[in-house]
Point group: C2
């Protein structure tokens, strides 16, 4: 056990996040997760994460304990100008260093205030130019508090980063990661790759994948199923292998997943299905109009959230009330009466109406029961019809969605995008529009 602990000590760091806001639960600690992923990708293992409040003794004690267990410590928070910000003096005192004024940083801050706010630097901000003796400044391109690197004679180090996520992330990527990487010279890393699927149940995916999973396992790649509202993400992770081997193993495992369940895969990482559908339409010269009932504009909002969507999305009709389905989308009264608003007949007419109302080549339509009320034994909450009309070729699909109102609406929009994606990728080449 102690041998293991010693061998770990060479490549582990600990993270300490600082702030009463964190400790009291007013702020959710997203910095910690970001730091962990970034460090793992360069082979640095975080053995422990600690959160303490704005209290100099608590900060110093936590840092001292962490340095006993690890090679280095990264802190976030407590570098601002207010009296709560105690990180620097607490750690300086732990290292037995004086706080001294960094004239160059003071001058930079004074200039920044003059330029930005046309005001002299407030006295409270002067504390940000006080640094522990022997500290190395880490540049902050997104704020005025520099990060600090402090090292003792035994080579143990503390890196102090700001708590504001944008500042922390910038400084981590620009300055700290290269510095840590040079120091740890990690022979192995933890890396992951996420493959995004939608429109398929987790159990069906798993059944299909299990046939090849033994293979996947041979490369040390672990597969995790991450179901969410947008679909089931498949996260592939390799641990404790050399960087190049890690990337190769992930690429191979991803290729295997594409062969096995490729029909449901729409992207990787943070890919947004709306952006992918827009690209598909753009490359085929297709324009989109929408007709939404239970989603009330969500599908249009998803599509237009993407910058540059205006060359594809023309608009649409939110037909929440049946009268609007009739008057604005041309859904006939007979269909509404005989089949109900949530029916194949109506969703088909809505898809056509979406095209006619906007002059688009593609019409997308959604009508369903998002709940929590409005369900019947025949059409329970989660019953949603979706439709796609491509140049007059209409297809409709019945969905049985699950979850609460929010989830059902989000899923309905996502599955409609997937419905269009699958139709566009099935059809190798669409004919040009007839005049």
């Amino acid at each position: 056990m102690s041998a293991l602990a010693n061998s770990n000590r060479a490549t582990t760091v600990e993270v300490i996040t600082i702030g009463d806001e964190l400790l009291l639960g007013f702020t959710i600690d997203t910095n910690a997760a970001h730091l962990a992923r970034a460090l793992a990708s360069i082979g640095v293992h975080i053995a422990r994460r600690t959160t303490v409040g704005d209290n100099a003794a608590a900060i110093a004690r936590a840092v001292a304990e962490a340095l006993e267990r690890s090679q280095g410590v990264i802190t976030t928070g407590g570098l601002g100008p207010t009296s709560d910000d105690l990180t620097k003096p607490a750690i300086a005192s732990l290292f037995g260093r004086e706080m001294i004024l960094d004239e160059a940083h003071l001058a930079w801050m004074e200039e920044r205030w003059r330029r930005r706010f046309n005001r002299p630097l407030p006295t409270t901000n002067r504390a940000q130019a006080m640094l522990p003796a022997g500290a190395v400044k880490l540049d902050n391109h997104h704020g005025s508090a520099p990060g600090i690197w402090l090292e003792d004679e035994r080579g143990r180090w503390v890196a102090m980063l700001p708590g504001v996520p944008r500042e922390m992330r910038g400084m981590l990527a620009d300055t700290l990661l290269p510095r840590v990487q040079a120091r740890v010279a990690a022979s192995t890393v933890v890396r992951s790759l996420t493959i995004r699927t939608t429109g398929v149940a987790e159990s069906l995916l798993a059944e299909r994948i299990e046939r090849t999973e033994s293979e996947t396992g041979s490369l040390n790649v672990v597969l995790a199923y991450l179901p969410s509202i947008s679909g089931v993400d498949l996260r592939l992770t390799v641990r404790d292998v050399p960087p190049q081997a890690a990337d190769q193993a992930l690429t191979e495992a991803a290729a295997r997943l594409r062969r096995t369940v490729g029909e449901w895969i729409y992207g990787e990482g943070d890919d947004d299905l709306a952006a992918i559908v827009l690209d598909l339409c753009r490359s085929r010269g297709l324009t989109i109009g929408v007709a939404e009932s239970c989603t009330g504009g969500l599908l249009g909002a998803r599509l237009t959230a993407i910058s540059g969507s205006s060359d594809v999305v023309l608009g649409g009709v939110i037909a929440y009330h049946n009268d609007v389905k009739g008057s604005r989308l041309g859904v006939d009264e007979r269909a509404l009466r005989e089949h109900g608003a949530v029916s194949e007949e109506v969703v088909r007419q809505m898809a056509r109406g979406a095209r006619e109302a906007t002059g688009a080549r593609v019409g997308l339509s959604i009508t369903g029961i998002a709940g929590p009320t409005g369900g019947t034994p025949e059409k329970p909450v989660g019953t949603v019809w979706i439709g796609t009309d491509i140049d007059g070729e209409v297809e409709a699909r019945l969905l049985r969605l699950w979850g609460d109102r929010y989830e059902i609406r989000e899923r309905a929009a996502q599955w409609t995008l997937e419905f269009l994606r699958s139709r566009l990728t099935e059809v190798a080449a669409l004919p040009e529009r007839q005049a």
Copy 2:
């Protein structure tokens, strides 16, 4: 210092969240914040929060250290049936307790599997019925892993909760909080109340409030400004006062804020402006139609996200392309040509068009430049016109919004809701619609 530390020790607990997923940053730790807020509200102070991975030695070490510093420890995670779940045996071993089979719990689990899945209990799940000797079970109404309360002869305790947020939250509220509250008999608590504002800049709010802030301070109430996309939340917090005094101080401080900046306050806590606007409309017999350009359906989606919105929201038109503004909303070509799509003239016509297209009494309209492209020196990114038409009375407002595309669109929808709210609350009683 040590006197303070000792006096703290009587009412502090530490939280330890367990899991490789947390440590590797794949999962963001939301349990910790929830626990902190819940404990603070009953007067329990969390002095430190620690995260360790799925490693029995690391778990035992962290718990042992925390018990040295505090009266009790709450852990989350590591109670499931898989081999990763090491919390119970690690802590049992730390307390010198054997793991013994809880026959009653085993029988309950077997019954549950038979009833739910029509299958015998898998062998791997039997581990969940193994409990440390002397443990008290904490009921889990949302899952099969019970929580565990373990106490040593010195009265120090560890409460082990599941890591799944829904299970953790249920168990905390139902079982653990009352138990901890009885034990700590806290004389003082930390409580907070959030007042929600929108449609006003933080600086203007602060200027107005500063006049009364000295008063607020006298009651020990701290005010924090929390700007977000939906507006500026004002969080009032009282610390270290008796429960009743805390609630009274918050109520009084909130009343003072209502007097000072009430015109921008739309709600408290988690209140959604869309729900508030719907209630206002409902009570006045008003129906809504929308006309959206740059928001592309977001306003409609916000309104229809609220369950029961169908008696107020009739529908609307997403007029992303100018042709749709003309053909579906009756915006005249001259206005588009002479003033451009982002103009007072067009937003007024859109508001009227929203009413006419849907037959609603209220029309809401939005047209603007969400960016990142499309801005000009006269109409930079963030220039948004919003309109409200109530029974034919049209008002329009020019917004200069900030942020990225996502933020500008979200703010545009939110400020439009606020525009309608302020108009509806200004007008004491609207006349009934003329036939």
